[in-house]
Amino acid sequence: MSVDPELFESMRLELRRGSLVLAVLARLREERYGYTLRQALAVDGLEMEESTLYPLLRRLESQGLLASEWREEDKRKKRFYRLSPMGAAMLMALAAEWRGINASLDKIL
């Protein structure tokens, strides 16, 4: 039986939404700025709109999970993000949770 494309798209987005924070924290084990982070996530198969990514980065920073600083690169000021110590701990905890969910789903599927 064929799947309704609109319904599938909305459910797919809902499924992905929960994994974005984990993906961003994982990618920021290495320092990046917004654009390169977005590119890295796209290569990983996780496309994110700028209008979603940048506010998410600010929110994670306000929660103490990221640290940022402005630096000049290619004659332009860019904001570089990296994991804070609290962010690294949160990443480990979330990754363990993710692996648990994955294992449960694997059993069901």
Partner: protein, 358 residues
């Protein structure tokens, strides 16, 4: 001004002052990087159309700015929406009932023609309905932005659910079998009563204060009062109503706040009963004032019990004092009812027991 600058200015206008510069600087860099990548793809400088396409891909300035906000991105959220909808339905129902009754009264006393009465009622329902929706939305907006949501959202009981059938306008509810079956099981729990009370009193208070129009123009209605036996009831009723205006508003607002607070945070039996005693005292004082000190009192206050009985017995409309006699009986009944209700609540203060069925 370039397209990018215009775009960033539009985003900046939606942002709070403290974070504005930081966000715009980052967004500027992100857009520039995107444009450079697009140039590299196309192998040529971007045209205005290409730049506009990049800016569209970034998102509308309102949406982009909203993503940086700290509060919820909605006026009424999914958790509160069903409550908002229910409150609006109950408020509109009360408004329709009040307007229908007032239109009927006006038509019966001959104040308006039937068509005019219906038209006025419809107009009042539409404008009052918009006010109710607006006020419910404002209340929901405020609740959504509280750190702690009200108790009724988190702590509810199955007993409370009966009230929510009020919002069901299904025609099958009008059938005799349905009514018979439901009459024996329909009970209102305290929270359900409080919500209904708050909504009802809000509509009544708004109508009394003239914020929403329910088709009754007190001054016009009082003009239907006969000038009989040399008494200008028109003038007396208007004076009395004007004197009662602010006490009525204060009473109504206090009732709305009290009923609303019971829905947010359940009140103990004794505390609730004590407040009801205060309300009963206020009502009794008001009715007694009507009887002994209002502009109407010379005409509605009896000389004694014998005079009261004699006047109550002779209420046909043909006598010149019919209106005064009728008002005398109504005020007397209101005083008795208020005192009776007050005593009932006073008993609950002492016993600490709630009413049967609650």
């Amino acid at each position: 001004m370039t397209l990018k600058e215009r775009y960033l200015k539009a985003v900046a206008a939606q942002l709070s002052r403290d974070a504005r510069d930081d966000i715009i600087a980052e967004l500027d860099d992100a857009i520039m990087t995107r444009m450079e990548a697009r140039e590299a793809e196309l192998g040529r400088p971007l045209t205005e159309a290409d730049e506009e396409a990049v800016l569209r891909e970034t998102g509308h300035p309102l949406n982009v700015a909203a993503q940086y906000g700290s509060g919820p991105l909605h006026v009424v959220g999914p958790e509160l929406y069903p409550w908002w909808l229910f409150g609006v339905k109950v408020g509109l129902l009360a408004l329709i009932v009040i307007n229908a009754v007032s239109a009927l009264i006006q038509m019966l006393v001959g104040n308006v023609e039937i068509g005019q009465g219906i038209g006025q009622a419809l107009g009042a329902i539409i404008s009052g309905g918009l006010t109710i929706v607006g006020m419910a939305t404002i209340a929901a907006f405020i609740i959504e932005r509280q750190a702690v949501k009200p108790a009724f959202l988190r702590e509810w009981r199955v007993k409370d659910l009966a009230l929510f059938e009020l919002a069901n306008f299904d025609v099958t509810r009008l059938s005799r079998e349905t009514r018979t079956a439901e009459r024996t099981t329909w009970r209102m729990s305290p929270t359900a009563k409080a919500l209904a009370g708050a909504a009802g009193w809000a509509v009544i208070t708004l109508a009394w204060a003239g914020v929403i129009h329910v088709g009754i123009d007190i001054e016009a209605l009082s003009r239907t009062a006969p000038e009989a036996g040399g008494v200008d009831y028109n003038g007396l009723l208007i004076q009395t109503w004007r004197l009662l205006y602010w006490p009525g508003v204060i009473y109504g607002v206090t009732r709305v706040l009290f009923e609303g607070s019971k829905a947010f945070q359940p009140v103990g039996v004794r505390a609730g009963a004590l407040t009801e005693v205060a309300f009963a005292v206020a009502r009794t004082v008001g009715y007694v004032w009507l009887w002994i000190a209002s502009p109407l009192s010379p005409h509605i206050r009896p000389e004694g019990l014998d005079d009261f009985i004699a006047r109550a017995r002779s209420i046909p409309w043909e006598t010149p004092d019919a209106l005064a006699d009728l008002m005398m009986v109504m005020v007397a009944a209101a005083v008795v009812i208020s005192i009776w209700e007050g005593l009932g609540h006073l008993i609950r203060v002492f016993t600490g027991q709630s009413r049967k069925g609650c």
